[in-house]
């Protein structure tokens, strides 16, 4: 499973993307695991209201399942246009 980070989430974690073992559960479960890894992850995921998530390139919410997903991306609210 590929995890991608964009904008300040990428900068705070220090990586544009990484490969993790496939897992079940929800986005929220994945975030709990990431937070527990290192301080930079805990800092990036400190305030979920400042974050958005896409599973397989579809915008969704933190309770969405990641079972069978190949990509999960975390980023701040979008500022296109």
């Amino acid at each position: 499973m590929k995890i991608l980070y964009f904008a300040w989430v990428r900068e705070r974690i220090g990586l544009p993307s990484e490969e993790l073992e496939n897992r079940s559960g929800t986005v929220r479960d994945l975030i709990e695991d990431l937070r527990a890894r290192e301080e930079r992850y805990a800092a990036a995921f400190a305030d979920l209201s400042a974050l958005r998530v896409a599973v397989d390139q579809q915008l969704t919410d933190f309770d969405a399942s990641i079972e069978g997903a190949s990509e999960v991306a975390f980023f701040p609210p979008m500022t296109g246009g």
Binding site: F6, A7, Q57, L59, A73, P76, P77, M78, T79, G80
Partner: protein
């Protein structure tokens, strides 16, 4: 329907001419152009636009499809750039073609509201002393409720 996500600059006039001349049933073409604006206090050197390759094209296509479902449109064009831009450069444009102007105006307005908050782009404003990610505005999110 044409969705272009690119680093390169584009010629707004040529794009509008091509888009317009390809329409034979439309009586109205509406265009919007977004330009890199300097900060209120000045000093903006660059605007860096990051995006999510793959999802960006999908999100823009989906937004354009929604517009075509809601309004009687003959065609839609969206061009959005990414990378390092300078003040005054064109960031993006949308064009809508319809038989009558009301559909073309409303659909262009809808496209802009949605692609501001639902297309995966992020802007960073860079001056000689600072580099700050642009925060999403509450008003941009609220604008979606109009539709």
């Amino acid at each position: 329907m044409h969705i272009l996500v690119q680093q390169a600059a584009f010629d707004m006039g040529a794009q509008v001419n091509d888009f317009t001349s390809a329409q034979d049933a439309s009586g109205a073409v509406v265009t919007f152009t977004g330009i890199v604006r300097d900060l209120p206090q000045g000093g903006l050197q660059h605007m860096l636009i990051e995006h999510y390759p793959g999802m960006t094209e999908k999100a823009l296509t989906e937004i354009a499809h929604q517009a075509r479902t809601r309004w009687a449109l003959d065609d839609v064009l969206v061009i959005h750039r990414y990378g390092m831009l300078i003040p005054g450069e064109t960031i993006m444009m949308v064009a809508t073609a319809s038989a009558h102007r009301k559909n073309a105006f409303e659909a262009a307005d809808f496209l802009m509201d949605y692609l501001k908050s639902r297309a995966p782009f992020w802007k960073k404003e860079i001056t000689s002393a600072t580099a700050d990610w642009v925060g999403a505005k509450q008003a941009d999110e609220q604008a979606l409720n109009r539709w």
